[in-house]
């Protein structure tokens, strides 16, 4: 179904709500003097968007806005995931000491704008739309990263992000122009038709263009070699924004990557497996990236002494794991990847939340600040952080284990044994650095100069929900896998 501009709006309600909401925020910001309620408003808007998404049944898939966007199960999954990420980011912002000093109106408005942009990324059905939405996400992210205007680290992070991002998107759009040259179109469906039915494909040209495009998309998911920005940006940005970038931006990146490499480049055969265009063996390319990403992320994380940096490198490694589902070229793999991204959302958001709780009280983000946390009044956040970190390692009874289980299952089923072994060995390596904060919190005794931990219900409430979900969904995860399974449907209409 190819819908025109007006007919499309019916499927575009969450985005409309968010856009309307962010405009409202700007106006209210001008009118009220007590800015603390702007966060409440942003929270209501995000929750509303999430509710709208939850209530929208995916009955019929369609092209929206003259084939610019696509409305299908896959988009709905990522809409839901990104909206959840935004909700967590807003919630955390309201409980963050760092953000409290900023211009509330602008902050939340840009956060919501970024959310809309991520939605668009997940829904793109056209290279132009893909580029625009990706740039939109980038621009808003640069601003949010540098939002702590009086903090040098934050500014430096924003600058680095901007420069790396500029290069990546320039490279990407150059690659897109090659694809356009080969296929004569920016439309994913037309590109697919051109690549799969082309008599003699200029294989090398296609390959180069894919590599160039990967620079932009790989940048968003922070895969090697486009990961360099992540540690600095994650460390410099305000913690709620770090969280938002780590979970939302990464999910949107994976959505775009999947939509481009699967329905746009490859094609689904009748037997339910995916087939690459003749000669264009992109999974091999991504396999190498995947292996290097997880290994490098894990090895670099071993050395970190700052929690945010540790989690930044861990999130690079986690992107490597998620890519495992991507390279096996099967629906099994994509489903596993989707499930894993959801799991990653819970555990990474939780981990950053605890980092924020500790930073709120002590003003510190280094691992040393966690010394003896369990013995100096912070036993609840200590246990919660342990749950999140163990989940990131993939220890059973957490959703992280189930996520890895599905990934390894897909990898083994696809016959990628070496990849499976590299993956599990990486899990073992990662245990070492994930256990380090746990060791510091429980096994070390406090010196007394670490600062007291003051709990507040606002943050503890969210922490409880995330930790509870990490465990509950690690024991009974059918709802999530069913959702991922139902959402695993790409709309590929007639050209």
């Amino acid at each position: 179904m190819d819908l025109g501009n007006f007919a499309s709006l019916a499927h575009f309600l969450p985005e409309l709500l968010l856009t309307g909401g962010l405009l409202l925020l700007v106006i209210v910001d001008l009118l009220v003097t007590n800015k603390t309620h702007l966060g409440d408003l942003a929270l209501i808007i995000t929750a509303g968007a999430l509710l709208l998404i939850a209530l929208t049944p995916v009955t019929a898939s369609a092209w929206l806005f003259h084939r610019m966007l696509v409305f299908d199960g896959f988009a709905m999954f990522f809409r839901a995931l990104i909206a959840l990420a935004a909700l967590v980011a807003v919630w955390m912002s309201m409980g963050s000491e760092e953000v409290r000093g900023c211009d509330q109106g602008e902050y939340y408005a840009i956060l919501l704008a970024s959310t809309v942009a991520m939605f668009l990324m997940a829904e793109s059905a056209n290279l132009l739309m893909a580029y625009l939405s990706l740039e939109f996400v980038s621009l808003t992210s640069y601003i949010l990263t540098g939002f702590l205007r009086h903090n040098r680290r934050s500014l430096e992070a924003a600058l680095k992000y901007l420069i790396y991002g500029g290069v990546a998107s320039g490279t990407m759009i150059y690659g897109m122009s090659w694809i356009f040259g080969i296929s004569g179109s920016l439309d994913f469906a037309v590109i697919n038709k051109a690549l799969t039915t082309h008599g003699a494909l200029p294989v090398l040209t296609v390959f180069i263009s894919l590599v160039l495009i990967l620079a932009g998309m790989g940048y968003k998911v922070a895969s090697v070699p486009f990961h360099m920005w992540a540690p600095d940006v994650y460390t410099g940005a305000p913690i709620p924004i770090t969280t938002f970038l780590a979970i939302g931006s990464k999910a949107a990146g994976f959505a775009l990557l999947t939509r481009f490499f699967f329905p746009a480049i490859s094609s689904l055969t009748a037997s339910g497996s995916w087939q690459v265009p003749k000669g264009v063996d992109w999974p091999q390319l991504l396999l190498v990236i995947c292996v290097i990403t997880m290994t490098l992320g894990n090895l670099a994380a071993l050395q970190q002494t700052n929690m945010k940096r540790l989690l930044a490198y861990s999130s690079i490694a986690q992107a490597g794991y998620a890519l495992m589902g991507f390279v096996v070229l099967s629906n099994d793999g994509i489903r596993a990847m989707m499930f894993y991204l959801f799991a990653y959302y819970l555990m990474d958001a939780g981990a950053f939340l605890v980092v924020m709780i500790v930073a709120n009280s002590t003003g510190r983000e280094d691992i040393d600040a966690y010394r003896g946390l369990a013995w100096r009044g912070g036993v609840v956040p200590a246990i919660a952080l342990s749950i999140f970190l163990l989940s990131l390692t993939g220890i059973p009874l957490t959703i992280g284990f189930i996520g890895k289980f599905y990934l390894f299952a897909a990898v083994i089923h696809g016959g990628f044994y070496v990849l499976a072994i590299v993956g599990v060995m990486n899990s073992v390596v990662s245990l070492y650095y994930y256990m380090r904060p746990i060791k510091t919190m429980f096994l070390d005794l406090p010196n007394g100069d670490e600062g007291k931990i003051a709990g507040d219900t606002w943050n503890y409430g969210l922490m409880g929900v995330l930790a509870g979900a990490t465990i509950a969904l690690g024991i009974y995860w059918t709802p999530i896998i069913t959702f991922a399974n139902r959402s695993l449907n790409f709309f590929v209409g007639p050209v």
Partner: protein
């Protein structure tokens, strides 16, 4: 007895929840909660033991529910002769180790909660018949172990704890991969261990070998088999007494249990081909090397830890023999080693509690000051040496009789090590308990009632099984002989040279 297995696994979990719910001021009560939970568990285990039908190879007390139907994952519990003996051992050792823990005074709430969680994890491993469930329990006990060693352990506890964790995680991820391989490339996609076992012939030989080795490494780390044993002395030395008791008493058995339950049952062909090397030769190395290392130790606890490695070698050798005597002896040895080493570690703990060191050379003539203690240690040492009349005698002799028929040369090494064992144990006894009395230890109290309470039941079991081994052998024989038949009916070893 409908839900006995669920109950026996989750009673400790209930105890853990109660412990955690205790207000900090009343955390002293946690030890009694743990004692109560493990007592209930032990009672159920005895109930299961008495109502177990020893004449059938069928799975008993089975419970099966859907869990994640889309992936054919079920909540499937059940026991056969092999697992029921381990259930009994686990319940017994856990009950005793609660009492051996009474000297713990720091953060008791967390300690007993973790101890109970560990208990539940180990019990779960022995009663699970769904591979996925098995794996979950297998991994779940890593974490409490890490904290129990890491928080309440000795001076190098952090190193020992993370080493233990890394080693075992490395092994278990290999098991995970092997499990997925069995799931996808079998006759049907299932985690049901009984179905996987009955479809064993479906796998190709190469596949069987690769998966077998992956599983073996995973389980060998737990045993621990040479050369994967280096975590064990560290973990033992640093762990608090009760945790050493659990570690040696139960945890190590999970490795050999896994080999029987998974490698033997699911990959009989590869087992028949590879067992001589991986179980026979490595088992013999374990026996001899463990004993030699034990002889060289100056630390009492490390000595016991190495002797543990040596004694687990008998289990491997017996299992690899493919004879009824050998395999029965091996599983009986698993049980006996559990009780004997538990005693030995408790005894080390007793002296460490008083002297705060474990240097063998630092003691001397303790028998004069602590006669009861010295007597009990003598008894345990004799049990460790496998003297006739003690339980370990029967099991080791059975192992050697069985192994002789298959691997005469290795059996010679295994049997000759008994001399080494006697040597290092008697020499240790002489240095600690006999000879001139070291005045430093004057005024030390003999065994307390609580300490005796942990030792006497174990000693009684050692004696009873020494005279009447049928109490455990009766459980095992039917299941083990059947398992052995399955393995023997497949193509034989690639190298017949060693026979």
């Amino acid at each position: 007895m409908d839900h006995a297995l669920t109950l026996i696994t989750f009673v400790p979990v209930a105890g853990m929840v109660v412990c955690l719910a205790m207000p900090a001021a009343m955390q002293n009560a946690c030890k009694w909660i743990a004692a109560a939970a493990t007592a209930v568990q032990l009672a159920i285990a005895i109930g299961l033991y008495t109502s177990f039908d020893t004449t059938t190879t069928a799975i008993q007390f089975a419970e099966k529910y859907q869990w994640i139907p889309a992936y054919h994952i079920t909540y499937f519990m059940g026991v056969d002769g092999i697992s029921i003996s381990m259930v009994l051992l686990t319940a017994l050792i856990c009950f005793i180790s609660v009492f051996a823990s009474f000297s713990i005074t720091r953060a008791e709430k967390a300690y007993y909660a973790l101890l109970l969680m560990l208990d539940a994890g180990m019990m779960g491993v022995f009663v699970s018949l769904d591979f996925f469930l098995f794996y979950i329990f297998w991994e779940v006990m890593l974490l409490p172990m890490y904290f129990l060693i890491g928080i309440w352990g000795g001076p190098r506890r952090e190193y020992a704890a993370i080493k233990f964790f890394l080693y075992t995680l490395f092994g278990s991820v290999l098991i995970l991969l092997a499990m997925l391989g069995l799931y996808y490339y079998g006759a049907q996609s299932t985690f049901d261990m009984t179905v996987l076992a009955s479809n064993a012939s479906h796998y190709s030989t190469t596949f069987q070998r690769i998966v077998w080795i992956a599983l073996f490494i995973g389980f060998a780390i737990k045993i621990p088999a040479f050369p994967f044993h280096t975590w064990l002395p560290d973990a033992h030395v640093e762990a608090p007494t009760a945790i050493s008791v659990i570690l040696a008493g139960v945890l190590l058995k999970m490795g050999t249990y896994g080999i029987l339950r998974v490698n033997f049952a699911m990959l009989p062909e590869a087992t028949h081909q590879l067992a001589w090397l991986f179980l026979g030769v490595i088992g013999t190395i374990n026996i001899v090397y463990g004993a030699l290392c034990a002889m060289a130790q100056t630390d009492f606890k490390k000595l016991i830890a190495y002797s543990s490695i040596s004694h687990m070698g008998y289990v491997m050798l017996g299992v690899a023999s493919f004879t009824a005597a050998g395999i029965n002896g091996a599983v009986l040895q698993m049980f006996n080693h559990g009780t004997v080493t538990a005693m030995l570690f408790i005894l080390v703990g007793v002296i460490y509690d008083r002297a705060h060191h474990r240097e063998i050379a630092g003691f001397g003539g303790l028998a004069q000051q602590m006669p009861l203690y010295a007597g009990m240690t003598g008894f345990a040492f004799f049990a460790g040496m496998a003297l006739p009349g003690m339980s370990a005698f029967i099991s080791e002799v059975l192992v050697l009789i069985g192994a002789w028929q298959t691997y005469p040369l290795m059996t010679v090494f295994g049997a000759a090590t008994a001399i080494l064992t006697a040597g290092y144990l008697l020499w240790t006894y002489q240095r600690i308990y006999l000879g001139p009395f070291n005045e430093k230890y004057a005024g030390y109290l003999d065994l307390s009632f609580r300490e005796s309470f942990t030792l006497v039941p174990l000693a009684a079991i050692v004696l009873i099984l020494g005279v009447y081994p049928q109490a455990i052998l009766g459980l095992l024989n039917t299941s083990l002989v059947h398992l052995n038949q399955v393995v023997l009916s497949t193509p034989g070893p690639a190298v017949a040279l060693l026979h």
